[in-house]
Symmetry: C2
Subunit: 225 residues, 2 copies
């Protein structure tokens, strides 16, 4: 981030501070996803980040606030992507396929630990979630609902319930990515070894399942180019 030599103290050290913050966010994301909020001592995060324990309190104000910072930043990024898709004017079936691919891409590349963290959080009933964070899942829900509802209105989809459809779609994707580590552990240990399914294969499976499962009964053809 910085191209010239800097003093070792004073405002010039901002780069190191940012690096410390980022290291804590990264290490915390991995560890919280793996073991849950209560399962991770701050010492473990500090060690993994290569910084001192006390930096968590200095930069974030405590373990809980570090946790919230991680969840919030990731949610914001994902919401932006999903809401952009929801506004696409293309046919709903196409948009839905792209949404599934986008979730897969998010869950494997950009935010590889988000599914686990979000799922854990939601399972506790949102114990650690601020009121400010609690409506973020609702925005994702809203975006998916709008896509499905438009598909139904256009006659591309059967008259399915958008909320239930959202739950089945997002649920199976989040489940897949949150449990990937377990599958690798169990399937790889079997003799003969079973290869754990690849994310790309699952994304395609879900796209096809939804395409067939939601398609309106009588009209296979698209009504718009």
């Amino acid at each position: 981030m910085r191209s010239v030599a800097l003093p070792t103290t004073g405002p010039g050290r901002r780069r190191d501070a940012a690096a410390t913050r980022d290291a804590l966010l990264t290490a915390g994301g991995e560890l919280f996803a793996e073991r849950g909020y209560d399962g991770v001592p701050v010492a473990a995060i500090a060690q993994k980040a290569g910084v001192n324990k006390a930096m968590i309190n200095y930069h974030f104000g405590g373990k809980r606030k570090l946790y919230l910072a991680i969840v919030s930043a990731t949610f914001t990024d994902i919401i932006a992507r999903v809401e952009a898709l929801a506004e696409s004017p293309r046919p709903a079936p196409e948009v839905l396929r792209e949404l599934i691919a986008a979730v897969g891409e998010m869950a494997t590349r950009r935010h590889p630990h988000f599914c686990s963290m979000m799922l854990r959080e939601v399972m506790t009933g949102g114990k650690h979630l601020d009121p400010a964070l609690i409506d973020k899942p609702a925005r994702i829900l809203g975006a998916v609902q709008r896509i499905v509802a438009r598909g139904v209105a256009d006659g591309d989809f059967r008259p399915v319930d958008p909320l239930l459809t959202h739950l089945s779609l997002v649920g199976s994707l989040v489940f897949f990515f949150a449990t990937a580590r377990f599958r690798e552990r169990v399937l790889a240990a079997r003799r003969p070894r079973i290869e754990p399914p690849a994310a790309a294969a699952y994304v395609k499976h879900m796209q096809d399942l939804l395409t067939h499962g939601l398609a309106a009964e009588r009209r296979a053809g698209r009504r718009r180019a």
Copy 2:
């Protein structure tokens, strides 16, 4: 619980001991599902069960062994139900619909906390699971795979991958039931209030989604009565 007078000590008290055990299993099931293994102090389990803290060590040998006893007993019961269904000679699409209903029934009546506990466990990669327990999910997987594979072989289903189909089916159901508490909390707090979806509605939604989503392309009719 007691119909005749019994001595206050000696073998005649076995019935009370069983009641203590059961109370601990029940209380532990609810609390572990809600807050996860690390999130529950043994004192909370004892209090909810109405027995003394030390009884956990006396009857189960520690917190961890109580936890394993709960997970193992529930898994065994569910595996029996699912494997019985997998051996049904009826057409695969029918059996699959019944499997979905059975999961819904299990998750709402007989083992209302199992989805949360299993999902939490699987998300940690099986940290708390004994080697003896670790193949129980594999038996459920095997049963669902056999149903799907038979549907494909009979020409009732598209040539879908049985493993991926199992993951999408079980994943979306487990997700739904594990996150029910969160939905109630978030949806019920909104104005205007949104009614959280009922389990029965979701079961029907999943049955229809899979029926349409897996059906072989050209032949809608059943090939066996």
